[in-house]
Structures are given as structure tokens and as C-alpha cells.
Symmetry: C2
Subunit: 143 residues, 2 copies
């Protein structure tokens, strides 16, 4: 696996840059997209949910959410437990999701150019494995 880290890290930067370029259309960047995506898939959620899922500390999530609130992409909905803050996508937020989804999917396709279907499946499979190897060797403060 020697050289793997080098390759991986060199893919990272141009990739985020491209993603951020796409999301700049809505004054967002990739970290905000993660929240939007989560809410699209999971529906109404708390900040703690999102924090746990992405393994990102809560203050970071607070900031992402504040931005999304300002932009009317998400809204707060009342919850029984007054300690937690339930949020969900607004109508406009759904719109932003749809539009960005398209652009991001296109990016994914363009990345996959020159890779066979099998290869693509394999990459996903491997990444998931790497992620597990990484997480299992962590302090696991999130579990």
C-alpha cells in the first residue's frame, strides 16, 4: 500500500476545490453540502445526529447550520425535547439540493471517465473498507 497516502492526499485538494466551485453558486461549500445531503436522506434531524454521523465536533456543525439558516436553506421545527434543535430542509433548500445534486453527479461521472463499471464498484467498496479500518483504530469518541 506504499504510496497510497500520497496519491490519496493529492486527489483530495483538487476534488474539494471542484466541489466548492459548484456550491459557490449558492454561497456554500462542501461542508454545508454534507448537512443538506444528510437532511435530504434522513429528514428532520438534530445537530447531534449530524455531528455523530460525520464525526465532526458539534461547534463545527453549529456553524454550518447557522450559515444554512441565514440562507433559508434549512428551518428549525419545534421539538418535544426543548434541549434539542430539530432542523429540516426548506422548499428552497430542496431546490438547492436538486440543482447541486445534478452538478455533483456530473462531476462524479467525469471523474469516473476511463474506469470500468467494475472498477468503479471496486473503488467504492475499497474506500468503505479503508474508512472502517480507520475508524476501528480510533479512540472512537463518537461511540
Amino acid at each position: 500500500m506504499e504510496g497510497f497516502l500520497r496519491s490519496f492526499m493529492q486527489v483530495y485538494r483538487p476534488l474539494v476545490t471542484k466541489l466548492n466551485d459548484i456550491l459557490a453558486a449558492y454561497q456554500l461549500s462542501y461542508s454545508h453540502w454534507q448537512v443538506i445531503y444528510y437532511l435530504k436522506v434522513e429528514g428532520r434531524s438534530t445537530l447531534a445526529d449530524i455531528s455523530a454521523h460525520y464525526r465532526v465536533e458539534r461547534p463545527s456543525i453549529t456553524r454550518r447550520v447557522q450559515r444554512l439558516e441565514e440562507l433559508d436553506i434549512i428551518e428549525v421545527v419545534p421539538s418535544e425535547n426543548r434541549r434539542e434543535k430539530n432542523i429540516q430542509l426548506t422548499e428552497y433548500g430542496n431546490e438547492v439540493y436538486q440543482k447541486s445534486r445534478q452538478a455533483i453527479t456530473e462531476l462524479e461521472y467525469s471523474l469516473a471517465e476511463g474506469l470500468t463499471k467494475q472498477e468503479q464498484d471496486f473503488v467504492r467498496h475499497t474506500l468503505r473498507k479503508l474508512q472502517q479500518n480507520l475508524i476501528s483504530k480510533e479512540g472512537n469518541k463518537f461511540e
Copy 2:
């Protein structure tokens, strides 16, 4: 390739964190490692070389190098062209390289757990391809 970006980005953070933990032993982080690695492989170089190789703007490289200089990991060597700054690893810098190299290689091994040799080769191959796809679709201000 749908879902690829998501997986990729979720591997990234724990990975850098681990790398930074390793390098923290020398008050460094991964971005500094890149410079050390480059100097180890290429020998005496200029900041412009490093900037071009990693596709990172020069001010960023200046900062990385300043840190490494402070820590006596690199040293400036006189060059004919007084406009460029030639740098190379010091003896201590080589030591830091060796020690970190070990730890990083171990990390790579532990990541590769559960992947066959073939799979590992394939991951590297694919990452390189992705990198090319990304770069070829860029403004290519570095070429």
C-alpha cells in the same frame, strides 16, 4: 461512481488526523511532510519546484518552509541564481524523515488490512487515474 465523493471525503479527515498525530512528534503536520518527502526524493530544490509539484500556491510553500527552517529540518544552500532559494534536508531533517517514514508506512499497512495485494495495486492505480481526470479538467494554471 455515485457516492464516490461521499466515501472519499469521509476517509479524508480521519486520515489526515492520523498523519498529523504522527508528525506532531516533531511539531509538524502533513503539509510539512510533503516538503520533507519532496526534498528526500528530489534533493536540493527551490520553493517554486515544490509549489509546482504539489500544485499549491507559493505563499503556502513559503510558510511550510519557514516552519521547517525554524525547526532546523531544512537549510538554505547558496545558489547561482540569487533570486531562487535552494533548500535541502539537514542531517536532523533526514532523521525526522526516517522516523516519520516508519510510522507512516505502518499506518499504510494498517489501512491495507483486509485488502489483497491486487486490491491494493488497484486502489493506487485508480487514484492516479482520478488525479489525472481532475487535473486535465482544470484551468491548469500550473502548466
